[in-house]
Amino acid sequence: MRPAYRLLSYVAAASLMFTQTASAFCGFYVATGDTPLTNKASRVVLAYDGTATRVSMASDMHGDPQQFGLVIPVPTVIKKEQVKILNPSLMQHLADYTKPRLVQYFDSDPCAPIPPPMTALAMPSPAGVMLRGIPMQKSTVRIEEQYSVGEYDIVVITATKPADLVAFLNANGYKVPAAATETVGSYLRQGMHFFLAKVNMARLKEENATGFLRPIQVTYQSPKFMLPIRLGMVNAAGPQDMIVMALTKRGRVETVNYPTVKVPTGANIPMYVESRFGQFYDALFERQVERNGASTFLEYAWNLGSCDPCSAPPMDSGELKALGASWVQENTWQQQAFVTRLHVRYDNAHFPEDLVLQETPDQQPFQARYVMQHPFTGRATCPAGETYRKSLPARFAAEAETLAALTGWAPDAIRTEMRATGEMVP
């Protein structure tokens, strides 16, 4: 049976700040040319069934694809059959489905009979891979795999000496700072390998008419359920944002080496926020980061069998399987999958370690949800209508206070904006 899929008075947040920034891959997004590329945000889907992990990484890079380079430490040697290219709409769909949402309600006529309560609203040729640079006989770098998938040329390497690996990367056009050597060495000693991807321009034209880079998905079997973020911080100008969407069998995913904090949810906020919901959430999130320091923030946790309200049409089993939830049954709404959306803003000072994750059996639903309550604008001439009207200024004042507390915005500016949209706050 179709689950509770209600999309009544839902107001889609146009586009939150993290979807507006050029996103990068979680491991290490490096420039291969001299054009600076920002490494400010990345989006990752992790599907984890207890033993196998599928990591899908999306980039909405708009610069020259030739400048793109991905370096990510992986726990095993990744063979060609373990790499897939995804349709970008899949990750976008999951991101839309889990993003913070603004819902609106309308006050009923205070003079009308009380209605029953309503619930919420609703590759072919490896020859295409160019490897050059340092003389291989002196280097300890070992190429373990080398292949092309979609528009990407992929190489998996390891090395005995981290400096050799860094030299190899630079010789092959990945701009890696020398400061990364220590971190590269740490990953090598932990037995990890390096997965490198660059765009093959000829194949990009051949295979992908859109010109945009498609997400890469890598599957591996390893007890290591974690996300490597250390390399990405080496040359980052400031804090970076990452949205992790985890698909699991049992329940919510949390970090075990950083606290997981729920973002504030359920607050009633003034109506003018509708037109700037992205800014609102950005300010709210920034304040949460200031208050909670090195934490990961829960934005959504829900069984995929239902949503309320839904911020996008539900994910179907085919999409979930494509994103890595291989255990999901076809053609059933009783999804045996749970999605957790964690948002983390990390930098070197606060996040010395990679994110270590664990799946819990916690199925308690959570969503970042903010409420706009429209006042009744009809005539309402009965005594209850008079009482209702008198109650409104206090309600608007409370909404203004809530907004100021959540975002840090100036209370006076909030009141001015509210009055301009007809909310007569005292």
């Binding site: 060495g185 000693r189 007890p223 606290p259 059996p361």
Partner: protein
């Protein structure tokens, strides 16, 4: 090492207590656990619910009543309360039946799994590990405490142990020293910056609460040598479980596994068995 009086010397002055007041270290432990519980429920997300805490305490008390009745022993409500508080701090599950099961397992393990006149396992550690192994509905959240609570926790725990003078601070210090040494060694081996082991020991909130369990005087070796070996073994096993086998609850598993060797340690390194101090003159 902090100089400690043997427990038997605790009743300061040692005069028979006629005032009705006597110093009971378990009350300090209960006070410390209660403080953490208040912090956890008011400050952190994903803490225990009030019904969970109430169910754990009630069930533990009922089981303790039954135990004292069946075995014709004095009612040990402080021990039962302490176990219930430990379970509240660490055990997470949405299933109320498992709250009841956890409290029952804790008290039952104390009554039934015994060796050398004392119980083999720390009751709450045993209950959590048992439920982790036999159900898929419980979890512990080692990362939830954050650095601030960790600092308060370490100070509070060690402070409470020193105050209570239960002669088990050696285990706490032995365990923490061993665990930190291994973290530093790992960082040195990997070439990691110091910030990493420092962060690892601080964010391991599980450590604080395990300290209450690891130092449980009724389920640890009697001699100081035995206790230090016990602490070091837990540190080594916990480290291996956490980093090599990626077992997030490694500290709890290590405590329960190493506790199996307490009778052996007591045989190899004999010492005086611990008894909680009774009112003076008893």
């Amino acid at each position: 090492m902090i100089g400690l009086q043997p427990i038997t010397r605790i009743p300061v002055g040692a005069a028979p207590d006629t005032s009705g007041f006597h110093f009971d270290p378990r009350l300090i432990q209960i006070a410390a656990q209660t403080t953490f519980l208040v912090l956890v429920t008011t400050w952190l997300d994903f803490g225990p619910s009030l019904p969970q805490i109430a169910t754990l305490i009630t069930t533990a008390m009922i089981c303790e009543l039954a135990r004292s009745h069946v075995r014709r022993e004095a009612l040990n409500w402080k021990s039962a309360l302490s176990s219930a508080l430990s379970l509240s701090l660490l055990l997470r599950t949405a299933n109320p039946l498992l709250w009841v099961a956890a409290a029952f397992l804790a008290i039952a393990s104390k009554a039934l799994i015994r060796s050398g006149g004392k119980h083999l396992f720390n009751p709450s550690a045993f209950a959590i590990v048992f439920l982790l192994l036999t159900t898929d509905q419980v979890w512990v959240s080692p990362g939830q405490w954050g650095t601030t609570i960790w600092l308060i926790g370490i100070a509070g725990t060690l402070g409470a142990l020193v105050l209570t003078r239960v002669a088990r601070v050696d285990i706490a210090i032995g365990f923490l020293t061993g665990f930190l040494t291994l973290l530093i060694y790992r960082a040195w081996y990997l070439g990691d910056p110091w910030s990493i082991p420092l962060h690892q020991i601080q964010s391991g909130g599980l450590l604080i609460f395990s300290l209450f369990m690891i130092t449980d005087p009724r389920s640890t070796p009697n001699s100081r040598t035995g206790r230090l070996i016990f602490a070091a073994a837990i540190a080594v096993l916990a480290h291996a479980l956490l980093f090599r086998w990626q077992v997030r609850e490694g500290v709890l598993y290590a405590l329960v596994l190493i506790s199996c060797f307490t009778p052996l340690l007591d045989r190899l390194f004999p010492g005086h068995s611990f008894a909680w101090p009774r009112p003076a003159g008893v």
